[in-house]
């Protein structure tokens, strides 16, 4: 738990650092307010880090990651990232059909059901977004 809390501290210090760096590239007059809020974040983060370090580790504390299945999680995360990346290449509808079927099968839904669900969702989106709302969806070399 303590490690996780410290991780939070490190992430926030990094975020503050990046924003500080970018703030100093701004014209001087535009720096004041961002500096104020970033410093606020940094001070609160430092208080958090100090309090975490002072606290004794509770061996029974939950980390929030109990029952975490890395395989499944990363398949979904990376699959979802690939899907977004593929939209401009393959086109929105092709990527969506492939994405839904692949994730469903990866999560052990049977193939026939996966195809049906994927078709249902894609047709639903086609009707609502393409026909009714007339959103111009990205087309790659396919649709």
């Amino acid at each position: 738990m303590k490690k996780l809390e410290l991780l939070l501290g490190v992430i926030l210090v990094l975020v503050s650092g990046i924003f500080y760096y970018m703030t100093f590239q701004l014209p001087e007059k535009s720096q004041i307010y961002p500096l104020f809020v970033i410093t606020l974040l940094l001070i609160l983060t430092l208080i958090h880090i100090v309090l975490t370090l002072k606290k004794e580790e509770d061996p029974n504390a939950k980390t929030g990651f109990e029952g975490f299945i890395p395989g499944q999680f990363f398949v979904v995360l990376i699959g979802s990232g690939l899907y977004v990346a593929l939209i401009n290449i393959l086109g929105y509808f092709t990527s969506t059909v492939i994405y839904i079927i692949s994730i469903l099968i990866a999560l052990r839904t049977d193939a026939k059901k996966s195809i049906l669900i994927s078709a249902g969702v894609t047709i639903g989106i086609y009707i609502v977004f393409k026909r009714i709302l007339r959103v111009p969806l990205p087309t790659g070399f396919l649709v």
Binding site: P34, G67, L133
Partner: protein, 495 residues
């Protein structure tokens, strides 16, 4: 008065009625699905409401909000798994009722109580909002600066497990709110080379990421359990006159409590429903007092009235002061701004017709919730059984199309993706997404207020403390920061 009457006729137009029915159906379904929140439903709906007339869009968003608040009770009663955290208190008596074969009665009590709670909060919405909006007329830039500070302190203080983390979330939101153009000088700030970020973070995409995609990741990290089948509803879904009389005083009182909890930023549905449950226990007839927990309608009615009353209550500060007290109203405020409306007095004067149509629509969605909740319960219970393995790709697909369709822009989809990861980490590290969103909304208001005041007064910092309203706002901000400490001291003394 004219606007109020106009509102009712407009809310009953065919388009608005269709929007009400559909949004309540969507809301109840989202609420009935354990693991999906009202915030998620409302965030995903914003892109669809984008092209609608403002009043229809707002009615649809409110329909999802109201529907989801009630929908949580269906799975609480039939599955013993509250669909939303606000329905956790409902399960205490709701599920035992199901085991006794009284599921229908429990559902009927939940829908009547939700309806009454909702209507009580609608009365508050009609009466209190114009008053509060008038107060907002007196606000200049300085007051808006302090108001934004007040909004941040209160949500940071009340809604997080740790106040420090609440404040950190708020500060992180403030930093993120500086992305875009400098409001005074027009300088480009932190746009990471993308012109799409010139207007700031795309709000809807950010929200969909924080509340919808993060949910996908939360579902994806765990074993996908087969949901148990919802219990059958064996009895009639109705209450006798006597039973309705039994729950009426409790629902009325819990409705008032829920409305107040809704108005107070940060309190929200979960807290309200537990208070509602305890109050029902306290106010019930002596012969039923010992039966709480064994499955009685009072135990369902108390929390359900309270959590639905939160909906109307929470809309009051959102619409009048622009301070949304929870994540759903924060998203709703986003929807309002997308429609070109600003919270404050204008909503009740220049845009009175839209606002009162929305209010009347709020009453209408509550009526539909009452009807659909009882008629459609079998179908909603089936929806509550949908497996997480199906929800994961479907919700993500909707998140992608939703964030894309606001500006027809793939950058927004990537922003959604990044904020999905941020939202997931925020959950894991016990920060507070609602505080981040609130800071994203309040940040620019506060910044403009602060900088305008300083420019108008040639940099004199003391000008920030010149008006009575400012001093009052400072006092209640300090008070809200101190409240958790005072409360814990009182608790210790009691022990």
């Amino acid at each position: 008065m004219q606007d109020i009457l106009y509102g009712f006729t407009a809310a009953l137009s065919l388009t608005n009625l269709i929007a009400s029915v559909l949004s309540v159906v969507v809301g109840i379904s989202v609420g009935a699905l354990p693991g999906l929140s009202a915030a998620m439903g409302v965030a995903l709906l914003i892109p669809i409401t984008f092209g609608m007339p403002p009043e229809t869009a707002l009615i649809a968003l409110a329909g999802v909000y109201v529907g989801a608040m009630f929908g949580g009770s269906i799975s609480a009663i039939l599955l013993h798994t509250p669909g939303t955290s606000s329905a956790a208190a409902t399960a205490i008596d709701g599920y035992p009722m199901t085991l006794k074969g009284e599921a229908g009665k429990a559902i009927a009590a939940a829908s009547w109580a939700s309806f009454i709670g909702g209507i009580i909060s609608a009365v508050a919405l009609y009466t209190l909002s114009p008053l509060l909006a008038k107060l907002a007329l007196q606000f200049g830039p300085t007051e808006y600066f302090w108001l934004s500070i007040f909004g941040l302190t209160i949500i940071a203080g009340v809604s997080s497990k740790s106040m420090l983390k609440g404040l950190i979330s708020g500060a992180l939101g403030l930093v993120l709110s500086t992305i875009g153009m400098d409001p005074m000088l027009g300088t480009q700030r932190f746009i990471f080379g993308s012109n799409s970020l010139l207007d700031g973070l795309p709000f809807t995409a950010t929200l969909i990421g924080l509340f919808s995609m993060s949910q996908v990741l939360m579902l994806a990290e765990k074993v996908i359990k087969e949901r148990k089948e919802a219990e059958e509803v064996e009895d009639n879904i109705s209450l006798t006159k006597d039973e309705l009389k039994r729950i009426l005083p409790i629902t009325a009182w819990s409705g008032i409590i829920g409305t107040v909890a809704g108005i107070l930023p940060g309190a929200g549905g979960t807290i309200a429903s537990f208070i509602g449950y305890n109050e029902a226990k306290r106010f019930t007839r002596p012969e039923y007092k010992d039966k709480f927990g064994t499955g009685i309608i009072e135990g369902v009615a108390g929390p359900e009235s309270a959590n639905n009353a939160v909906t109307g209550g929470s809309l009051i500060p959102t619409l009048t002061l622009g301070i949304p007290g929870n994540s759903v109203t924060a998203i709703l405020l986003g929807g309002l701004i997308i429609q070109g409306l600003r919270p404050g007095p204008d909503l009740f004067t220049a845009h009175g017709k839209i606002t009162y149509t929305f209010f009347a629509g709020f009453v209408v969605v509550n009526i539909f919730m009452l009807i659909l909740g009882q008629l459609g319960v079998k179908y909603f219970a089936k929806i509550g059984n949908i497996s997480d393995s199906i929800l994961i790709p479907v919700i993500f697909t909707l998140s992608v199309i939703g964030s894309y369709s606001i500006a027809n822009n793939m950058t927004d989809v990537w922003v959604m993706f990044i904020f999905g990861l941020v939202g997931y980490m925020v959950n894991k590290l016990e920060l507070n997404s609602a505080a981040i969103v609130l800071a994203l909304i309040l940040g620019p208001i506060g910044e403009q207020g602060l900088r305008r005041t300083l420019i108008m007064n040639k940099g004199n910092v003391f000008s920030l403390f010149n008006s009575v309203i400012s001093l009052v706002l400072i006092a209640i901000s300090v008070l809200s920061l101190l409240t958790p400490f005072i409360m814990s001291k009182i608790d210790k003394r009691k022990e």
